[in-house]
Symmetry: C3
Subunit: 319 residues, 3 copies
């Protein structure tokens, strides 16, 4: 089966996952994002690259934050953005997902930004477009189930490259609920492709995937042990629903074992950076002393995130 993200010439036609994307493609996206970073600093924060294009935000799972980043990115590229509140729309009336897509394609959609609770939904759409020979319509995965969140993975890579220049030799720790995290998966695949020295997965046994060893990461259940000597610490958000489930005793106990405090952080390299995909649960997975401290680059991630999404949309649209 051909790579569903690439056309016959190796050009990016959909962004579904960081997994399976060649190093040159990842690097091209990061390099393109650099050039867009400057656009958001201008007095007139707009370029006409997607003028007259119709970008549809299809959020089957609600996420105001992520939708907003894509909406801003698309508007700064001058696209027409249409937000579909899909929970309340035709799919709720019994229409199939692919009938909804066919309808929007018939309205001359150029791009779908898709968030879905089911892993694989964006692939299903991309495969459907391939069968319909509509390579001119593009899919961006904005998070599917536990599977992937590639723009978050890419903006994390952009952030690491920005602050650390080179991936080789870096030790990167990912801390928290890796089991349910599409961010962690997207980061791990991208770090492998970009040649990071060592990737560590740190968390309680109940929140680590059973087959995590096969992903080429070192597993730690102890935060102090795992963070020692790291260059990059990526904290994951602890979803509220985990805290009152069977997987964790309580938010307080989680913080005691896996919350990142200045003391614990001092075990990492002195120039280590701290990342978080947001929104943060202060006092649950991260202490305010770290979140607001000099090593946190969490807001830089947000800024880079807009540039990375502009880059992805622009490349997909053929620029």
């Amino acid at each position: 089966m051909p790579n569903p993200q690439l056309d016959a010439n190796g050009g990016l036609i959909h962004l579904l996952s960081t997994e399976g994307l060649p190093r040159e493609v990842l690097t091209h996206i990061l390099d393109t994002a650099s050039s867009f970073l400057e656009v958001s600093d201008r007095d007139v924060k707009k370029v006409p690259l997607l003028r007259g294009k119709s970008v549809f935000n299809l959020f089957f799972e609600n996420s105001t934050r992520t939708r907003t980043t894509f909406e801003i990115a698309a508007k700064r590229l001058s696209a027409d953005v249409i937000n579909l509140d899909v929970g309340r729309s035709s799919t709720a009336k019994g229409e199939t997902l692919l009938d909804t897509i066919d309808n929007l394609v018939a309205m001359h959609a150029d791009m779908f930004v898709v968030r879905h609770a089911s892993s694989g939904a964006p692939y299903l759409i991309a495969e459907h477009l391939r069968r319909a020979r509509r390579e001119d319509v593009h899919v961006v995965n904005a998070g599917d189930g536990r599977h992937a969140h590639p723009t978050q993975g890419l903006l994390d890579m952009y952030t690491i490259r920005h602050f650390k220049k080179d991936f080789s030799g870096l030790t990167v720790a990912i801390v928290g609920d890796i089991l349910h995290s599409r961010v962690a998966r997207s980061d791990i695949h991208a770090l492998a492709t970009l040649g990071a020295g060592e990737v560590r997965a740190i968390g309680p046994q109940t929140l680590l995937p059973t087959a995590i060893g096969r992903m080429g990461v070192r597993v730690f259940n102890d935060l102090a042990e795992g963070i020692r000597g790291c260059d990059v610490v990526i904290m994951l958000r602890l979803q509220n629903e985990r805290m009152n489930g069977a997987l964790l005793p309580s938010a307080g106990e989680y913080f005691k074992c896996y919350g990142l405090t200045p003391e614990i952080l001092s075990l990492a390299r002195p120039d280590a950076i701290v990342m978080h995909p947001g929104p943060m649960n202060r006092g649950v997975e991260i202490d305010s002393g770290v979140a607001d401290g000099p090593q946190a680059v969490i807001l830089s991630q947000v800024t880079f995130g807009i540039a990375v999404r502009m880059a992805v949309m622009s490349i997909l649209a053929g620029n």
Copy 2:
């Protein structure tokens, strides 16, 4: 009483219903739509005809699909589009419909796209504007109660004309819940004005209006009998709420009697086209073998729908 849709010179000022619109007006809209069809195929899908105009989507009844088609049409005309989630707004706070309209007119609204559960609501607004001598503010009915859905009626006419060239001599069947269908009413009036040869209404007695004979259509309760020799078959959506009401035994039994299968469709003319306003209930009113088959023009309807809505808005705005 003068025709509320036309000004003193016979020009279109509101689109409220296909009923009462002269043949030249209908034909002018369809011809204008032809010219807009090409805009959506361009690389930059935009024309500046409504630049700086404020178009308000006033959906008192929720319909993401229909709202989206008007939003796309207005944005491709370069209008500023404001979506009002009216269910959550001032009318919910006890303000009258006409006070809401007066307020938006005071904000210099140029056009209202109105969907309302009550038949006649868009007429009420148009009449109110007439009394206020605001002929520069326009109303488009996006569906009112069981009464009318004129842009759907017009896009259906566009589709028929596109595939069949001429209305005279055509036999058109409308199948399903005609009693509750504003689409059926808008189609029947437009077909009469455009001179269709014969219009047939096919459905169970409980879902046909009692006075349907007076609308100039032939009534059939048997699908096989009614569809025989037809050139055009328009399937209607069966609303979920009908299925568990007193009007119908079950969705399964409905499909057995009125679901369009390839076998039943073979009774129509071999070059018959199949239409559906969407969203489809596959396996209820239409079989997937028909919906995805070579005679279905359902997605063409969607594409034409954008062009027709652009044409209506553009004509109303005086272009």
Copy 3:
């Protein structure tokens, strides 16, 4: 403590309240609004003053009407407008208000239009931006708790100046639920600064603030007595929740005592104007004979409101 609304040179950087704004600043906003009034009358209702700027509507309290006026104003200035449905977003996921703000600033937000149920929330944001030395990001208070609604106050001043020319010598009555009204507070402060002759607060004792005497207004519990000889009558909306609370017996009794009828209005000066911030409860605080009568300037307020909001946004953005 310096005035949080003004920079070191006395220029407006945030609009948080009419209180504490010097007369020249108020007058400058009103004068600027005059020039924008004409823009909304043009065929192309757009000026490029905020092109490429990102304006965020942050409505923590739902208000479709007010959000719409800001959205229209920003779009007519050519800004990119992003509506955040904050009730459903990250703050609902446990993120703090200031973390949300930091994130949006990191996305290069230029302006926040904030409505919040808590008095002081927009101040908190402005103070946070000051500490972060982000004087290039601006806050407009679109209503905070019972505290202030400065753009409503300013549009009321615009309306009074438009119809009465000069503030000195005017007697202005504010009638109704002054206790819970941010509009009343914003009006009273602005009227004082602009030098209105006399301001009267009229309402039942239970709906007047205990310390109202200190605000420099004359208090009346009797409508007929209070309205006598007034030049301007500002009616306040009676919130539904007051009517079935302990503060008022019933809507019907309220109307008998404080509803503005043509008879009562005849006690004011013959050229008195009647204002209302909308949405109106006809038959509760105002009779239709007044609302639709020749002395009502309620829809002019709406028109002026767009121009005033354009003026505020334009001045904040540095034009």
